[in-house]
């Protein structure tokens, strides 16, 4: 079987995969990083979103071999030294999750959004989340959490300047 190597959450990893092995299966089964979820089989729901070389990618939609040599960040790599990131903390404060299954993908997508657009409007947030389905929250508190995270990160930037 072919070998694949990548850096996942800062750690160099190597594994054997079939040609048909999806990145999400390599992460979940090969590396036992089960925070990345599989909610569909048509690349629609976004529960499997990870960052590959800094960009949000649906890990069910690329083969593990396609990620060879890349830097991958999963939900397990977002909190630093046990402290929730601003986005993660905002999801908790604003009740942006219920069953938690879509949550890893939501956090990864929201983190990408704020990296690209630090001060998104509600409409821009809703537009950006189009590829992430949540069945529990009705999106209200997810949008609220991301807006709050943007505000907090913005204030931190101002304070740093």
């Amino acid at each position: 079987m072919p070998q694949v190597s990548m850096t996942v959450n800062g750690r160099k990893v190597t594994g054997e995969v079939e040609g048909r092995t999806l990145l999400v299966d390599f992460l979940r089964e090969g590396l036992r990083l089960t925070g990345t979820h599989v909610g569909c089989d048509t690349a629609q729901c976004g529960a499997c979103v990870v960052h590959v070389d800094g960009r949000s990618v649906k890990a069910c939609n690329i083969f593990a071999l396609e990620a060879d040599g890349t830097e991958v960040t999963t939900i397990e790599g977002i909190a630093k030294d046990g402290a929730l990131s601003v986005v993660q903390a905002a999801f908790q404060t604003h009740h942006g999750l219920q069953c938690g299954f879509c949550t890893p993908g939501m956090v990864m997508t929201a983190t990408s959004l704020l990296a690209e657009n630090p001060d998104p409007s509600e409409a821009e947030i809703r537009e950006y989340l189009e590829g992430n389905i949540c069945r529990c929250t009705g999106y209200h508190n997810i949008v609220k959490a991301i807006r709050a995270a943007a505000t907090e990160l913005g204030a931190a930037r101002v304070a740093a300047e």
Binding site: G39, D41, C45, Q98, C99, R135
Partner: protein, 791 residues
């Protein structure tokens, strides 16, 4: 901010693991030496299996064993949990639902064979090598066609596709007919309550494990009620006694009803693990979920509302065809009957009501409870026909509702459809709704839309639901094959911390946060000292699980009952420690004191004494501090409220935009407002999804044409607005200790009629006369209705 007790919006403690990828969902578990199963499923809706040859597939790499129906000859069928008696006194038709198809397939997705292999991919590859020949039979998809003479029979042994013909209340039938005949005005509406796919984001999964050393079975499964699965599967399907079967439902990624039911795949992995001597794991793909998770709704209804000319309701006659699908799922027979007919009074004082439901077998996936379960179907037809009556009679839709509301001085209110409302105040929620939806400002907003060529509409609905199911003696009379109490054990540890074992199951509802708030309030201690354990039959003594908005009203009440016992015993211990009379002991802020003195002992002094009984009234009470309680409610609870939806319709394209949604609910007392509001948000989104986007579609041959997220339109962030929700109108439930009613389903019940009423208000208010459009109100349907009205 420290965590508080009842009434505090504590942040959820479970969130940290979910936010960091440390949730423990069923598919996250792997068991040592595990195998994987792939189900070969029927790709035709109805047919006889002519040939099923597994010999070539057995030779495929990695195959451990391939199972067919012959391997389950001694197993029972998947049981239905309710028996419905028809209006002639006869039992419903209850054909067998085998684990794997026995000679015949009855819906697309019906499992035929199961391949157990070393890897999932190998199991899937081998399934494709099974030789299968099916003689296709005519499929019945449409319910009316299924009841026609000569229709193809889903179950030949039943002799009919009619499961039951139910009348409620049958004795009212003639009086209702006469009242409608004599009424000055009758509003009639024919409508479809569209079939939905629940689509919890976590697909179902199950792992069976067998330990031959002590003949113990373990099933890990995505369930809302692990004890119920243990009972149904153990007693009715596989013949495993409870003490030999452990069912674990760890973190579960949403349920919405679809994970209540006992499914064939659970029985399969449990039995197969013993047969192959290794754990067997199954994880549903989303495509599989669409054709194997029980669907929801799917009613075709005609409702007639008789009124006087001033809009006072005189009688209701509701006639429904309810799709059961190909087999009876666990709760299926009860949904169109006892969770639908009993709600037909709504919030109103209509004196005469008759409900007829014919349940029909078709060659489709089984239909069962989905968020609201029967109550959305009742509310939708009622709130639609009320709106239509208001338009016909020239009465404001808010006024016609107020005119017929049960008034606060009428409780307890006995409806003509069996249920007895204990309390409520519907005018108060309507007043609140009018305020938060800014109904007064609507004309100006409508004019602003009109200036842009858009039609703005405001839709109102009221709802009531029966939650906290249920009084066991009542549901037993109605055909339930189980009790519907809840159980709780409170284990106080020597150093004062508490573990609560609850039969309720959290799959998003936040019980790990809210239940400690209840316990903490009773003791006056920090909720952080209290842990919740749920979802494992080896830990929790018993339970009926979470559905029907029952966790707090029934499960929470069981915890309160167990805590009452704990406090009573703790007071005895405290009295002994302080050499005082038990009657003088008061508990406040985690301390026991002697009334009128400055003597007190801490909670932890008492708990330690209970486990280190050196100075202890051993002749009066046992050491230890652990109590179990079962709570069986004396009535349903009746959450109620009023909802408003504001939409804008583009008359050129039929596109509907939801601009605002307001909900004023009376849930009784509220433990954690943040969580309650979140439940309402999610329910509203599912209701808007049903009304605007979602529909499970079958073609005439019974092919599921909406089998993935590419063709089944889930509500996405862009489809819904932010919501205004209010739960400040409180009439506490009169018969449970917390005064709570339940909030999980309300949003999904009240919102579909509000949405449809809004679209029709927009059209009619814009001079386009349209009586009704069936859900989902897609742009093409709205556009077609506009064109038909203009023609």
């Amino acid at each position: 901010m420290p965590d508080g007790g009842i009434g505090a919006s504590n942040k959820r403690r479970e969130d940290v693991r979910f936010l960091t990828g440390k949730g423990r969902y069923t598919d996250d578990f792997n068991r040592p030496d595990q195998t994987y199963v792939w189900f070969l499923r029927s790709d035709v809706a109805h047919g006889r299996i002519r040939k099923l040859d597994i010999s070539a597939a057995e030779q495929m790499p990695g195959v451990v064993k391939i199972f067919t129906a012959a391997d389950f000859a001694s197993a029972g069928g998947i049981p239905a949990g309710w028996m419905v008696t028809d209006r002639f006194g006869q039992p419903m038709k209850e054909p067998k639902h085998p684990i794997l198809a026995e000679g015949k397939v009855r819906h697309v997705g019906d499992p035929i064979a199961a391949v157990v292999a070393e890897t999932r991919a190998q199991a899937r590859d081998a399934a494709e090598a099974i030789e299968l020949d099916i003689e296709e039979l005519p499929a019945v998809v449409d319910m009316r066609a299924a009841l026609a003479d000569g229709a193809s029979l889903v179950h030949e042994e039943a002799g009919t596709n009619l499961c039951y013909d139910w009348g409620f209340v049958e004795d009212n039938r003639d009086a209702v007919d006469a009242a409608i005949k004599a009424a000055p005005h009758v509003t009639t509406l024919e409508l479809v309550n569209n079939r939905l796919v629940p689509n919890a984001m976590e697909p179902r999964a199950a792992i069976g494990e067998y330990d031959a050393a002590d003949d113990q079975h373990t099933l890990y499964t995505t369930s809302q009620n692990p004890h119920v699965i243990r009972l149904l599967m153990g007693a009715f399907v596989l013949g495993i006694p409870e003490q030999k079967l452990r069912v674990v439902a760890p973190d579960v990624g949403g349920g919405f009803g679809s994970k209540i039911f006992h499914y064939a795949e659970e029985a399969f992995v449990t039995a197969a693990a013993k047969a192959v001597g290794r754990p067997v794991k199954w994880t549903s793909t989303r495509s599989e979920a669409f054709m194997s998770d029980a669907h929801g709704r799917d009613h075709v209804t005609r409702i007639e509302l008789a009124t006087d000319l001033q809009g006072k309701f005189l009688a209701i006659r509701s006639t429904t065809l309810a799709n059961m699908g190909a087999y009876l799922s666990t709760f299926a027979p009860s949904i169109p009957t006892y969770l639908h007919g009993t709600l037909m009074a709504g919030n109103y004082t209509t004196p005469l009501i008759y409900v007829n439901v014919r349940a029909v077998f078709t060659n489709t996936v089984p239909v069962d409870a989905y968020r609201g379960a029967g109550r959305p179907e009742a509310t939708f037809q009622l709130e639609r026909v009320v709106d239509k009556a208001a338009r016909e009679l020239g009465i404001d839709p808010i006024e016609i509702r107020r005119k017929n509301f049960v008034k606060p001085d009428q409780y307890p209110y006995q409806t003509p459809v069996a249920v007895n409302y204990d309390t409520g105040n519907y005018d108060a929620t309507m007043d609140k709704l009018v305020e938060i939806a800014d109904v007064a400002g609507f004309p100006a907003r409508k004019a602003e839309s009109a200036a842009r060529g858009k039609l703005r509409g405001l839709g109102i609905s009221s709802y009531i639901e029966a939650c906290g199911i249920a009084p066991s003696n009542l549901v037993g009379q109605l055909g339930a094959r189980a009790g519907l109490y809840e159980a709780a054990t409170v284990r106080v540890n020597p150093t004062g911390g508490i573990t609560v074992f609850t039969g309720s199951h959290s799959h998003g509802q936040g019980h790990e946060t809210t239940f400690p708030q209840v316990v903490a309030s009773m003791l006056g201690i920090d909720p952080g000292q209290i842990e919740i354990s749920h979802g494992d039959t080896a830990k929790v003594p018993f339970g009926m699980g979470t559905y029907g908005s029952r966790s707090l009203a029934v499960g929470g009440s069981a915890i309160v009952k167990a805590m009452d016992k704990i406090i009573a015993k703790a007071k005895k211990i405290a009295a002994h420690l302080m050499e005082a009379s038990e009657a003088d002991i008061e508990l406040k802020d985690g301390r026991f004191s002697v009334a009128g003195t400055d003597r007190s002992v801490a909670w932890t002094d008492v708990t330690l004494a209970a486990y280190v009984p050196h100075n202890y009234p051993l002749e009066q009470i046992e050491p230890g501090l652990e109590e179990t309680a079962f709570y069986d409610p004396s009535n349903f609870t009746y959450p109620a409220g009023c909802y408003a939806c504001e939409v804008e319709v583009d008359p050129e394209t039929g596109v509907v935009s939801v601009l605002g949604f307001a909900a004023a609910d009376d849930f009784g007392n509220v433990v954690n407002p943040m969580i309650v509001e979140g439940q309402v948000h999610g329910g509203i989104a599912q209701g808007i999804g049903q009304a605007m986007l979602e529909a499970a579609g079958y073609d005439a041959d019974g092919q599921l044409v909406t089998g993935s997220y590419m063709d089944y339109a889930m509500p996405r962030s862009n489809d819904v607005p932010s919501y205004k929700v209010d739960h400040s109108c409180v009439t506490p439930c009169t018969h449970n200790p917390l005064g709570v009613k339940g909030c999980g389903e309300a949003g999904a019940i009240g919102s579909p009629p509000a949405f449809v009423n809004a679209v029709l208000d927009a059209l009619n208010g814009g001079g386009i006369a349209v009586d009704h459009i069936n859900m989902p109100l897609t742009p093409s349907r709205v556009w077609a209705a506009i064109q038909a009205a203009r023609a």
